[in-house]
């Protein structure tokens, strides 16, 4: 973790029972995503992925103001060259790591959920929001495009029509509309967010991990396939999950 400030971790990682809790921890800047956070998130997710005791994950943001205000723009353009930036993107493929974790991941969303905050949420499987959550995608307004997978994951979550509208216009979406659009699955009172997310994670962690992992793989990988291939995958995974009981 070159350049990390170990005394001020930007990501907190804890484990209770079979649930891993990953907390974005830069509350003074609404958990804006920077390079240190990328490295520490990478370490935390890799640990959760490899740890067989971890059967479900919760991702949340610390502080009152929000889950994540997006990328930390003060660090933009600091890479020595585009070639190096591109090399680093794939050497530390944080978004690919998210997608490779075949355990249920729950995003607990509150306050500002902006840009890469929305994108991280879309890389999780279940999104629970508190009543005060507000979502927006400001990239195109800032002359760029989403870079944490959002151009791919958001349309797969809410449809291409809605994704185009939200990203092209940078419109703010309140929690209630986010639920109508299918961006979040559940809205809870502000004070109940963490309890709801953790208790769902505990419930999922109590189930057969092989079945959960197989079901997640069938959905995630199957959506990239033609129906015939997806059905074959489902059959194969179901046989495997059954025989591992």
């Amino acid at each position: 973790m070159v350049g990390s400030d170990m005394t001020h971790p930007t990501v907190l990682y804890s484990k209770k029972g079979n649930v891993a809790h990953v907390v974005l921890n830069r509350p003074r800047v609404i958990n804006a995503y920077n390079m240190q956070m990328r490295d520490e998130l990478y370490e935390s997710l890799a640990a959760a992925k490899d740890d067989t005791d971890v059967r479900a994950l919760v991702l949340s943001g610390s502080g009152e103001r929000g889950f994540c205000a997006g990328a930390d723009l003060t660090e933009f353009g600091t890479a020595p060259s585009l070639a190096i930036a591109r090399q680093v993107r794939w050497e530390r493929d944080i978004w690919g790591l998210f997608l490779s974790i075949r355990k249920p991941m729950i995003a607990a969303l509150h306050g500002f959920v902006i840009g890469s905050g929305v994108e991280m949420a879309c890389l999780c499987d279940v999104r629970i929001a508190s009543e005060n959550a507000v979502f927006s995608m400001p990239e195109v307004a800032l002359g760029m495009v989403p870079a944490a997978g959002g151009t791919q994951t958001l349309p797969r979550v809410v449809g291409a029509g809605t994704a185009l509208e939200l990203i092209l216009t940078n419109r703010s979406v309140a929690a209630s509309e986010a639920k109508e659009l299918g961006l979040v699955h559940q809205i809870v009172a502000n004070g109940d967010l963490m309890m709801t997310a953790i208790s769902l994670a505990e419930k999922l962690a109590s189930r057969d991990p092989a079945a959960l992992s197989a079901a997640k793989s069938a959905l995630v990988d199957g959506l990239d396939m033609h129906l015939d291939d997806g059905l074959r995958l489902e059959k194969r995974l179901a046989m495997k999950a059954k025989s591992s009981e």
Partner: protein, 256 residues
């Protein structure tokens, strides 16, 4: 750029394309299809235009197609080719918004489906009704409708030729917004102006990433997104976007 059948006006980077055959429900005939394709070619090349808005003259959007009576069925292939316009809309790299000010039926809805954002009048009806007349959608409807609303809803709409109202279209994600009939143009213009103030290169790349990405595996899509991002980093627009944010001012994009 304007013609009798397709009116074009450009204000503040927004080009409004108006189908102008009100007496025929703005139905698309061969001459209008040619005029539309020509206009789109010009607008796609115009440095001034950043966002397109398409609407219908009068109280309707577009009720379909005026196909000639074909005595020789061998001519059908050429006739449909000449009438087809959705591909020309879908090929635009600039964002396109449909202001569905009235009924959008058959090819009219297929046109709207090829746009990026759809705003519908509360009184508009939408449908692909070709099967009712012994035909089928032929300007992209069988492909774009299921991709937008899901296979089940698309099959039901097309097989039954059912016309749905704007509220139902909204609930199934077929339109992004519903406005009162006298507010459709205002609401759509507001969206167009908002997008026109954003980075034009980024908007084009965003469309490419989302629309091409839907045909790719997730992993391939993420590759496309990343590479478009690296290319964007060479543009002055992206530097302007970040500078304006850090300096807490509005960005001024040059499209470079």
């Amino acid at each position: 750029m304007s013609s009798a059948l397709v009116h074009i006006s450009i204000h503040d980077h927004v080009a409004t394309v108006t189908l102008n055959r009100h007496s025929a429900g703005n139905a698309i005939n061969e001459a209008m299809a040619f005029a539309l394709r020509d206009a789109l070619t010009d607008l796609s090349q115009s440095g001034e235009v950043r966002v397109l808005l398409v609407t219908g003259e009068g109280s309707g959007f577009c009720t379909g197609t005026d196909l000639p009576n074909l005595t020789n069925p061998e001519l059908l292939s050429d006739t449909l080719k000449n009438h087809r316009i959705s591909d020309a809309f879908a090929a635009l790299t600039k964002p396109v918004i449909a202001a569905i000010n009235g009924d959008a039926l058959d090819q009219g809805l297929e046109l709207a489906l090829a746009c990026d954002i759809r705003v519908a009048s509360a009184t508009a009806r939408l449908g692909l009704t070709q099967v009712e007349a012994g035909f089928m959608p032929w300007d992209g409807g069988t492909q774009r409708l299921p991709r937008l609303v899901g296979r089940g809803r698309a099959l039901e709409m097309i097989l039954t030729s059912r016309r749905i109202d704007a509220q139902e279209a909204m609930s199934m994600g077929l339109v992004n917004m519903v406005a009162e009939p006298d507010q459709v143009m205002n609401s759509t213009l507001k969206i167009a102006q908002t997008i026109a103030a954003h980075g034009p290169i980024a908007a084009g790349y965003l469309k490419e990433a989302v629309l091409k990405g839907m045909d790719l595996t997730l992993e391939q899509g993420l590759r496309l997104e990343a590479d478009l991002n690296f290319i964007l980093q060479t543009t002055s627009d992206r530097a302007e976007g970040i500078q304006s944010f850090l300096q807490r001012r509005s960005p001024d994009y040059g499209g470079k």
